[in-house]
Amino acid sequence: MTDLTNTVNTADRAEVADTASRDRRGASSIRMQGLRKQFGRDAIALAGVDLDIKAGEFFTLLGPSGCGKTTLLRILAGLEEADDGQLTIGGKDVIDMPPHRRSVNTVFQSYALFPHLSVRDNLAFGLRMRGEPAAERNRKVAEVAEFIKLGPLVERRVDQLSGGQKQRIALARALVCEPDVLLLDEPLSALDAGLRGQLQVELQRLQKRLGMTFVFVTHDQDEAMVMSDRIAVLDSGIIQQVGTPREVYEHPANAFVARFMGHDNLFAITASEDNWVDTGLGRLQLDPAEQRDAPDGWLLIRPETLELGGNIPADYNRLEGTVEERLYRGSRIEYRLTVNDHPLTAVAGNLGQRMHDVGDRVTIGLCPEDLVRVAA
């Protein structure tokens, strides 16, 4: 906890937490090699996972339910044993180490606060099990309560807490142990949207201040993008892509990642030559950097890059479409169009411009640099 306070003081005083605390002694890197896990005869949870997580990184495992992200987190915690593979945390081989000996703590989805203990005793549980003297324990618990701003909650019983309060206490209970790595298993999924958004920001700030390695599991791509330094997208026990939120969103490695990140505008490429591709929309010109030898795969058009009507620059691809639906979302306007019988979604920021009406024929401009080829 001394480390924790020092970090906070530094952060408050100089506001240089971002870079300074990154190199904090306690933060550990994680290396996974060929991790495999199978449940029963044919339920493969992890089909060989290789992954490096840097010290002090906010790393998110993202994927649909059943993709193996929770299994991977549980293997990191030691709550699940891998069938095969290597795992080191902070350079130490921990694959055969039981959970109670790993310097790793978890914030559980259900929070898992002990009902027979008060909030204070819940916070002290890990320190007590590790055999720290009472005086030390009390000091650390008081510090973490101050740090997470628990205030009078410490005196409450667990059954007197709201969901958001339980979440913060579960977080404090894990942080007070000063683990090398903090694991978070969808800790925000049980909260309502407003509180959730607020806690996303708080959690991310907290991680930056502590400089601790966080591994976060979620199925919500918006949450992942807001909070993470890097994201690993998983499907069927295989890592589909690892990258920064921007890389994963703007340059998805394959159609699965693209769809999972919320992209609708994916079009099968039927033929390609140099920097030209043929899709259901018609023939489109790409940036030369997107040139590939193989003709297969998909073309991704991000809906916010479409130009509707107005002055379309000469080097843009032009398409003619019809407005089928218009969804007014306040800060932006979403148009559902059809182009050559193919649906195409466009999103325009609401800058007070004239809106297109349902049934309007519009000219659509596509900048070649915004068109991305995505592997099948």
Binding site: F125, G126, M129, C177
Partner: protein, 270 residues
């Protein structure tokens, strides 16, 4: 509208009457026993005045004191042993609840549904044979403790199991995650969490043991009469007010134990 309210209220009145009738049917015989235990006269028909004479007489009766002692020893020993074994079984059932172990649980519960007389006779036959072959386990308090433990175990196991099932499974993992070794998990997580269930199970077992006559009767030895056995042999000579006094004390003790069991079993909200 008015007619309907009328109808409803008369239905409610009928149900209330039925409820009181049931209570009277259940508790009137007990009340009579309690009342006559304080009767001054040696009569089961006439109340002549209040007296504690039968309770005094009871305390002077060595046979009764011995039977009382046997009942207590039997109830406490069997309940403690049943608690220890039932607790392990309950935990085992919880741990392996995902496996197809239904048949095993049926095996454990068979003693509950078996008629006491069948159970008692089987136990007796077993102990007699066992004693003949090995010279061990002469009928007496020892065999009675074993017999009582066997019928108490399923109740303990069920209470412990249902307590565990009502818990968030990630609590077990949280304890592991927070540096608790297997032993510390038992001491600092499982036992404190189970405490109300264990107290409840202990008093339920205690009640079952004190209540039991049939199985005790078949497994007892010549020296190990319990209160129910004593009462049974005494009433062959006729119901004396002394018997009423014993019965009253037993009603009180069992009611208290059952109440404690109920109270602690209710405290299970998480």
């Amino acid at each position: 509208m008015r007619k309907r309210t009328l109808k409803r209220s008369s239905l409610r009145r009928a149900l209330t009457a039925f409820w009181w009738l049931t209570l009277i049917f259940l508790y009137l015989p007990l009340a009579v026993v309690v009342l006559f235990s304080f009767n001054a006269a040696n009569s089961a028909a006439r109340l002549t005045g209040f007296s504690l004479r039968w309770y005094h007489q009871l305390l002077g009766n060595e046979q009764i004191i011995e039977a009382f002692g046997n009942t207590l020893i039997l109830a406490i020993c069997s309940s403690v042993i049943a608690l220890a074994i039932g607790c392990l079984i309950g935990y085992g059932m919880y741990r392996h609840r995902h496996r197809k172990l239904g048949w095993l649980i049926v095996l454990i519960y068979l003693p509950i549904v078996l008629p006491d007389i069948v159970f008692g006779i089987s136990e007796m036959a077993f102990f007699v044979q066992f004693h003949r072959l090995t010279g061990l386990l002469q009928p007496g308090l020892g065999t009675m403790v074993i017999a009582h433990v066997t019928f108490q175990i399923p109740f303990v196991a069920l209470i412990v199991y249902s307590r565990f099932v009502g818990l968030d499974p990630s609590l077990f993992e949280a304890a592991k995650d927070l540096y608790a070794t297997p032993l510390k998990r038992v001491i600092h997580f499982m036992l404190p969490t189970l405490k109300p269930a264990l107290i409840s199970a202990f008093f339920l077992s205690f009640t079952l043991s004190v209540d039991d006559f049939v199985i005790s009767f078949f497994t007892a030895g010549p020296e190990s009469a319990t209160l129910p056995i004593y009462i049974w042999s005494a009433i062959k000579k006729g119901v004396t007010p002394e018997i009423n006094a014993i019965a009253t004390l037993m009603i009180g003790a069992v009611a208290l134990a059952a109440m404690i069991s109920l109270v602690f079993n209710r405290q299970r909200k998480v």
